[in-house]
């Protein structure tokens, strides 16, 4: 089988035994498990959300449809939908209002647009502190808001999932949708960061 250079950990052994048992009973197909991992490791991720944000920045009609029903708009125009994105809502940042998203009870997150959440989003410090001291948490992410900006923290306590629409940076004037998408970071769509210039691509 695979090349084991070190002994299997306790967790790995426990999970392997469970998978073998469920496979033997015909309850799971290992190839289907591979397909699920492939889907969330390589196909569904924050590049999806970045495309939605970029289009919202350049297409007022699409922005209007996102405001009306974000889930329907993402499904109709990008085919982004499904598990953990069935009921999506858009949170628009403005010069007066900054939005950030948390799930204090577990790890709710808009999978079809952002993929699976990072460890920090699922961690107790973020879940505990985002609602009590959002500005301190944002500062740890390097984002300091002016005192007059209203902070709205969205706790995902039911089955609605939230996408933050960050403000378009003024430096991006004239860029097309594809170039704009490269400015959109995962953190800016959770509300703990801002869009930023993409790292220069290596010269050919």
């Amino acid at each position: 089988m695979s090349q084991h250079h070190k002994p299997e950990s306790g967790m790995a052994a426990r999970v392997r035994a469970l998978e073998e048992s469920l496979t033997a009973k015909g309850l799971v197909d290992p190839a289907a498990l591979d397909a699920l991992v492939e889907l969330y490791e390589h196909k569904i991720g924050p590049r999806n959300g970045a495309r939605v944000v970029a289009r919202a920045w350049c297409d007022p009609g699409f922005l209007a449809r996102l405001r009306e029903d974000a889930g329907a708009a993402c499904a109709a125009e990008f085919n982004f939908g499904g598990r953990q994105g069935e009921d999506l809502a858009l949170l628009e940042n403005t010069p007066q209002v900054h939005n950030m998203v948390v799930c204090t009870l577990c790890s709710c997150y808009p999978w079809p647009l952002l993929g699976l959440p990072p460890v920090w989003y699922k961690s107790a410090p973020y879940r505990a502190r985002a609602v009590r001291e959002p500005r301190a948490v944002l500062a740890e992410f390097g984002l300091t808001l002016a005192p007059q900006v209203e902070v709205r923290v969205w706790d995902s306590t039911a089955e609605l999932r939230y996408l933050v629409l960050p403000m378009r940076p003024p430096e991006t004037a004239g860029l097309d949708e594809e170039s704009l998408a490269r400015w959109v970071t995962r953190d800016s769509m959770i509300g703990v960061g801002l869009p930023r210039a993409p790292a220069p691509s290596p010269s050919p």
Binding site: S9, M11, A12, R14, V15, R16, L18, E19, L22, G26, L27, V28, D29, A32, L33, A35, L36, V37, L39, Y40, E41, G45, N79, G81, G82, R83, E86, D87, V102, T104, L105, C106, L116, P118, V119, W120, K122, S123, A124, P125, R127, A128, R129, V131, R132, P134, R135, V137, P147, Q148, V149, E150, V151, V153, W154, D155, T157, A158, E159, L160
Partner: protein
């Protein structure tokens, strides 16, 4: 259930540590736990609310890693729902089928057309939901006063659905709370928390300052 998973507002947690260039999974076994949990969920022998409750009941939750909690949840559901005994009746979706199952989703929105008790602008107070079972009303909101920002529509009620007691569909409201109401005077007047709360979690408050 007011358990260790109910983190909102808890003190003493320390800094949020973000990993640079974090991979989607850190270990092969995490990939398998994730996929096993989804694939076993496709059989429909339990629902998402039961899954969440199985995880939050885990002894040692606070010290456990995320996918260790998922593994515990899956093992708990397998034991409680007696799936192994019914294995012969169940079809495991193939690799070709899973993408369609994921894309189809499984909305918790209910078709039920029922009257809403509250409307945008109403003042409400969150009940003290002291249950040994599952609830989506977080402790830090219990007893707090907020204002309905939006009626999100009718959804399955997790507090009932997690225990196999039926969908009990009801309206969910996005409710706005001021930081001052939640945490007292030490926090700025410009911070607000919005939470999505079920009608059963809320009582009407007299309308005054909004």
């Amino acid at each position: 259930m007011i358990g260790p998973h109910d983190c909102g507002g808890r003190r003493g947690e320390g800094a949020v540590r973000a990993e640079k260039n974090e991979p989607v999974f850190h270990h092969r076994w995490e990939r398998r736990v994730f996929a096993l949990t989804l694939a076993m969920g496709f059989h429909g022998r339990w629902n998402l609310d039961m899954s969440r409750h199985a995880r939050e009941r885990m002894p040692g939750y606070r010290a456990a890693s995320y996918y260790a909690i998922w593994l515990h949840g899956l093992e708990t559901l397998l034991a409680e729902c007696k799936v192994l005994a019914q294995a012969g009746e169940l079809h495991a979706p193939s690799a070709a089928e899973v993408a369609a199952v994921i894309a189809a989703g499984a909305s918790a929105r209910a078709a039920a057309d029922q009257a809403a008790a509250f409307t945008a602008g109403d003042a409400v107070r969150v009940k003290h939901v002291d249950t040994a079972g599952h609830t989506r009303a977080p402790r830090y909101l219990h007893g707090r006063r907020g204002v309905v920002a939006r009626d999100c529509g009718v959804f399955v009620f997790p507090d009932s659905n997690a225990h196999g007691r039926g969908a009990d569909p009801q309206h969910v409201y996005s409710v706005r709370f001021s930081a001052g109401e939640l945490w007292g005077g030490e926090n700025g007047g410009r911070d607000f928390v919005y939470a999505d709360l079920f009608e059963n979690h809320l009582t009407a408050e007299a309308k005054n300052d909004g």
